[in-house]
């Protein structure tokens, strides 16, 4: 039962959040990891036993119906959750192996909570539950990033996406007058604001993926630690975006703008990722660009599959994760240097880890190509081919740069990678990637890895490393400039409005005029009272007039 899994994940998270000394922390995090592993076993067992139970309780009531907390167990949900669970496990394993997390147990706790939240989101049937899960996942992402400076743009972008999503769901809820997601079918019939919902909904999804135009946030994460970056890329906002797409595509597809918008952004992201990964020197940025290319492909493939998840998507997803892990090991191997151009020579003693890393990358490429071959059909062939070409070219060019980089100087310090751990990890990852071979072997998948190897050895695009020295290109942040200007424009608009309305209109004109009128009136009053004798004369005149008036009035009454 997925509910049971979610509950256990939550408990594990709580357990792992306990603050203990550094020494105990390692033990605690290992216990938490073991617990996660056990839960995974339990999860698989439930799935295999054909669990189909639904956990549901009424959380609160509202005028739009009850706010339910549902965790629906069905094979489809199990299938979607599986890759996320595996990646969570692998990430937790990473945390166990590598020493770049000061508080391992809390890092594992965040992963456990994150998975619990993702599970709740995937299995939800209620707008409030879904939105809560999306928002909490974002909060957890900030906690995982643990870097205030780096997470600013990412948080703001996600926050904007969340607000848009909030608005979209509010509009849907307003029209169906129900918090039940299944009611969107009823809304679909009415078709009100379909374009609005599709455009804004997709925008929120793209912002969460970090697609082109909205990539500022995700690219700003290039300064955080790589393992945290991978956790974000594979377990956080993009996943929530994916789940949203899976849940709401049925509604958004009603708009004529949905598919063109989706295609346009995916294609642009693919191209953007290709050029970015080739031209930008920062290694982590390259990983993000490849990830963006991957998400573009993934979304397109989902579209071709009618937005229905299948085992191939799981394979694709895991393949990409394995690839990223290979790249991660490379990064470690090169002493976590931020720029590819800074990657130094390799000590002889450590050449096995490097070979291991390449082996993992190679195996991941094979698994990706195999999966794509299996998903290949007439409808999506152009897209798959484009991706395969661009991705292979880009990845091989960068690997070429790393392998055949001109050696400038020897490393004085030994690489800090714990070799024995690294080899264990590599073996584990390699074993995982081998699983693909047993799934469905396809002979046509051999071609791509071969081309990839060849390209790694002879790739003319490696010369694009020339641009690594061009600071103009490296610092080129057109969209950051655009967004900054947008914010500045809004701030200036606020300031101008404040100056015009508050200061100029209200203070300088309205209040001053009122004060001036009051002062003039008072001065007139004082002047009128300065000469009582003259005042007295006017008073008498006034009384006589009043008297005459009263008398006339009396006559009129009597007349």
């Amino acid at each position: 039962m997925i509910a049971y899994t979610t509950f256990l994940l939550f408990l594990t998270g709580l357990f792992s959040s306990i603050k203990v000394s550094i020494k105990t922390d390692k033990i605690l995090s290992f216990i938490a990891f073991a617990a996660l592993f056990t839960i995974f076993g339990n999860f698989c067992e439930s799935w295999l036993s054909g669990d189909n139970q639904t956990f549901s309780f009424i959380w609160n009531s509202s005028p739009s119906g009850n706010i339910n907390f549902d965790i629906i167990s069905n094979p489809y949900n199990y299938e979607i959750i599986l890759p996320f669970f595996i990646i969570t496990l692998l990430s937790a394993l990473h945390i166990q192996i590598f020493r770049y997390e000061e508080r391992k147990s809390s890092a594992v706790a965040f992963l456990a909570f994150n998975l619990a939240i993702l599970t709740a989101m995937i299995t939800s049937n209620n707008f409030v539950q879904l939105l809560s899960a999306v928002f909490i996942a974002d909060i957890l992402a900030v906690l995982i990033i643990k870097d205030t400076g780096a997470s600013k743009k990412y948080t703001l972008m996600n926050m904007a996406a969340d607000m848009i999503l909030f608005m979209v769901l509010a509009v849907i809820n307003s029209l169906v007058d129900s918090l039940d997601i299944r009611q969107i079918l009823a809304y679909k019939k009415s078709g009100f604001h379909a374009d609005f919902l599709a455009i804004f909904g997709l925008t929120a999804v793209f912002m969460k993926f970090g697609f082109f135009i909205f990539h500022i946030g995700i690219l700003s994460l290039q300064n955080i630690r790589l393992h945290r970056l991978l956790e974000i890329l594979f377990l956080s906002a993009p996943l929530t975006a994916l789940v949203l797409l899976l849940k709401f595509n049925i509604l958004w597809r009603e708009s004529a703008y949905f598919l063109p918008y989706l295609d346009a952004l995916c294609s642009l992201t693919l191209a953007f990722g290709f050029f970015g990964s080739l031209l930008i020197d920062c290694y982590k940025a390259k990983i993000i660009y490849w990830q963006l290319m991957f998400w573009a492909l993934f979304v397109e493939l989902l579209k071709f599959n009618g937005f229905i998840w299948s085992a191939w998507f799981t394979a694709l997803f895991l393949g990409m994760y394995i690839l990223s892990n290979g790249l991660y090991l490379l990064h470690y191997y090169f002493n976590r240097r931020p720029l590819v151009s800074q990657f130094m020579t390799i000590r002889k003693e450590n050449k096995y880890p490097l070979q291991g890393a390449f082996l993992i990358i190679f195996s991941a490429v094979i698994s990706l190509s195999m999966t794509l071959t299996n998903m290949y059909n007439n409808v999506n062939r152009y897209y798959i081919w484009t991706f395969a070409v661009l991705f292979t070219l880009s990845l091989s060019a960068v690997l070429y740069q790393i392998l055949f980089l001109p050696r400038r100087k020897k490393l004085l310090q030994l690489s800090t990678i714990p070799t024995q751990y690294l080899i264990t990890a590599e073996l584990l990852l390699f074993a995982t990637s081998l699983l693909y071979y047993f799934h469905d072997y396809h002979i046509s998948a051999v071609g791509v890895p071969v081309v990839f190897v060849l390209l790694c050895l002879f790739n003319p695009l490696h010369k694009l490393s020339y641009f690594y020295t061009k600071t103009d290109i490296q610092n080129f942040e057109f969209f950051a400039f655009l967004y900054n200007n947008l914010i500045t424009f809004l701030q200036i608009s606020g300031k101008v409005l404040w100056l015009l309305i508050d200061r100029l209109f209200m203070d300088k004109i309205f209040i001053r005029f009122t004060v001036w009128s009051a002062k003039s009136g008072l001065s007139l009053f004082r002047k009128a009272h300065q000469s009582p004798l003259l005042g007295g004369f006017f008073v008498l005149l006034f009384i006589i007039i009043l008297f005459m008036w009263s008398y006339n009035l009396r006559e009129q009454i009597s007349g």
Binding site: A160, S174, L490, G494
Partner: protein, 467 residues
């Protein structure tokens, strides 16, 4: 229940008397104020536990005059109790934020308790005469608080503030007098809108009521006076008390709910709605442009008050409890953020440091600050999240464009708060701060941790504290 209500109303007055006779230059007055507020919180919880359903209402009346027949009718329901609880917790938060010098100031405690008395009487009043009495009566403690504990620059603006609000309350007086003309004696608030009175009189009544309540809510172009008062307030308690002024206007609209049923209101609603939307956008942009957290917080509170106002104007009564839950959280969060910001400001002044990055040196405060900002923005850490979702959904149902602008404004101000939080947390921006910044004390940390628990648990059940 009647005696409970009466004692509930008397407790702040007794507190005032005790503070008045407490020793000078000691914390006794402060302790009495704290005790008074806590005692009334217990009474609220007791009353909430006696309410078996959400619609339960308890009445208590006191014959004030026999000719004309004027009865002092007090009534309490879950809605007003939730609001009262929010007010009380906010004020306790405000008291916690006082400096040791401010804690020894008797006048501050007396005026606060007097304000509380007015506020609770307003929230309990069920007839129009007494509603007016406390609606106008609360201007006095506010005026004095600003005069006594604000800078001199504030005094001149407080004069304007008083006059403006006084004029607003006179509008309510006109309405009350017209109602009184047709119905000698007490008229229940809920009955004002459905009185059998001529059309022109009905228009005057409704116009007066709407005008009076709007005067309390900083709607453009009358937001200026209140924003000026807010700027540079160094006393958290005064900030919190001031920020409750719009609540009175909002509450008025909610309690005079029946006027929404009359035909005459349709003349006003679109106008108010337009002004609300314009003000929300305007204030959101101003909030974005300000470089001070407190100013941003003021913009935030204004926008949320306007959101609640529009919810009241456009939606039916079935959303009332959602509004109450949201308001409850909003009041507490607003008060907490004001106090926490002043903690940061004091730490900055003491350490001679920089505003930017100050929270990086105060991890405890930073955590609390982040938590409250996230709640304020509307993330699912408190019941405000889903209640706002329900309210905004309903607003979309009533008017799509209004919903869009409301969302734009709330998003902008939410982003502004988060942006400011990042600036306050970013170590890279901290240029001159030395390392000797004092974080908040253990007692304050424990207190605010308690508040966070209250808020967090409300996410699961807004009334979790009622047994």
């Amino acid at each position: 229940m009647g005696s409970l209500l009466a004692s509930f109303l008397l407790v702040p007055l007794l507190g005032c008397i005790f503070v008045l006779f407490s020793q000078k230059h000691k914390n006794n007055g402060y302790n009495v104020a704290l005790f008074t507020l806590s005692a009334n919180i217990l009474l609220i919880l007791r009353m909430l536990s006696l309410c078996e359903t959400m619609d339960a209402e308890f009445l208590y009346s006191y014959q004030w005059l026999t000719h004309p027949n004027v009865r002092f009718i007090l009534g309490v329901d879950v809605f007003s109790l939730v609001l009262l609880l929010g007010v009380y917790i906010s004020l306790i938060i405000g008291l916690t934020g006082l400096s040791s010098e401010q804690r020894r100031n008797k006048s501050l405690q007396i005026l606060t308790l007097y304000f509380v008395w007015n506020m609770e009487a307003l929230l309990l009043a069920k007839d129009i005469i007494f509603f007016y009495i406390f609606f106008a009566g609360m201007l006095l403690p506010l005026f004095w608080l600003i005069c006594l504990h604000g800078s001199f620059k504030k005094i001149s603006s407080s004069a304007l503030f008083f006059l403006f609000n006084f004029a607003g309350s006179l509008l309510l007086l006109i309405s009350m007098l017209v109602v009184y003309r047709y119905n000698r004696g007490s008229v229940l608030l809920s009955a004002v809108g459905i009185l059998d009175i001529p059309k022109h009189a009905q228009l005057i009544v409704i116009g007066g009521i709407c005008g009076a309540f709007i005067s309390r809510i900083p709607i453009w172009p009358f937001h200026n006076w209140i924003s000026f008062i807010y700027s540079d307030i160094k006393n958290p308690l005064i900030y919190i008390v001031m920020s409750m002024m719009p609540l009175t206007g909002l509450y008025g609209f909610i309690r005079f709910g029946q006027i929404m049923l009359s035909d005459s209101i349709y003349t006003f609603v679109p106008i108010i709605e337009t002004f609300c939307v314009l003000t929300m956008l305007f204030i959101a942009l101003i909030g974005l442009s300000h470089r001070n957290f407190l100013q941003k917080l003021f913009s935030y509170s204004t926008i949320y008050y306007l959101l609640f106002l529009m919810s009241k104007l456009l939606l039916t009564d079935k959303y009332q409890m959602n509004m109450a839950y949201s308001l409850f959280i909003f009041l507490i969060v607003n008060a907490s953020l004001a106090v926490l910001d002043l903690f940061a400001e004091n730490a900055r002044e003491e350490s001679n440091g920089n505003y930017r990055g100050i929270l990086a040196y105060m991890p405890r405060l930073a955590n609390l600050f982040t938590f409250f900002v996230l709640i304020a923005v509307g993330l699912p850490i408190s019941s405000m999240f889903w209640n706002n979702f329900i309210l905004i959904s309903a607003l979309f149902r009533e008017s799509f464009m209004t919903g869009i602008w409301v969302m734009t404004s709330t998003s902008l101000i939410g982003m502004a708060l988060i942006y400011e939080l990042y600036i306050m947390c970013d170590t890279r921006l901290s240029l001159t701060t030395n390392d000797t910044v004092c974080d908040i004390s253990d007692a304050n940390l424990a207190f605010f941790a308690g508040v966070t628990i209250i808020l967090f648990l409300s996410f699961f059940n807004p009334l979790w504290f009622v047994f």
